[in-house]
Symmetry: C2
């Protein structure tokens, strides 16, 4: 993330941006509760500097699996927003529903429809 002359935060450049798909498997029957907990985290992410996407999805094929589509202006923004106290952003409630550690697919966004303009 960069700061323009007026002190406003600017969207990340294509080189700095990081994205990830995060797969989370809930305990049996707890998929909806996990999704709710993640929507609560998403609400807290709305004001997080550098958070360009934090989109909560149910798996279409696997019951009790939730995927989060994340896009950050840079790695540091992601670390700052998600790396603090779990309880602060609601991640404690998320962890309580997890049957296994989250699995990440890390990507480097290039462009296309839906990418904020750098």
């Amino acid at each position: 993330m960069s700061i323009d002359g007026a002190g406003r935060e600017q969207p990340g450049t294509d080189e700095e941006r990081v994205g990830r798909y995060v797969r989370m498997a809930a305990h049996p029957g707890e998929g909806a509760a996990l999704a709710d907990a993640l929507l609560h985290v998403a609400a807290n992410m709305r004001e997080a500097p550098g958070c360009e996407m934090y989109l909560v999805n149910l798996s279409a094929d696997e019951p009790d699996v939730v995927w989060v589509t994340e896009l950050w202006s840079d790695e540091q923004s992601s670390d700052r927003a998600l790396g603090g106290e779990l309880g602060q952003v609601g991640l404690e409630d998320v962890v309580a529903h997890l049957a296994a550690p989250p699995e990440l697919i890390a990507v480097r966004p290039l462009g296309g429809v839906g990418l904020p303009t750098a």
Copy 2:
């Protein structure tokens, strides 16, 4: 997708929306060319009705693997935009670089940061 009183297309409702992560593995050394071909498809998708996201990403871990993050207002919009002649939207060039069939992770978007308002 729905049409409002003035005939404008409206973003899909949360129930209708479909999303997917599409993993495409290129022939060795052709990852960048595959990404370029997909960015060309993305440019064509910009005007496709119901296309809310078509975001091209390089894998951060796997060389020559590209991921596309798709979000559609409904299944029909996706079928219409991607289901026609491959050459029309540039998918022919994409297929030429593929080492294997694309793999899909299908999701149902619920909400969060980065989802167009229904």
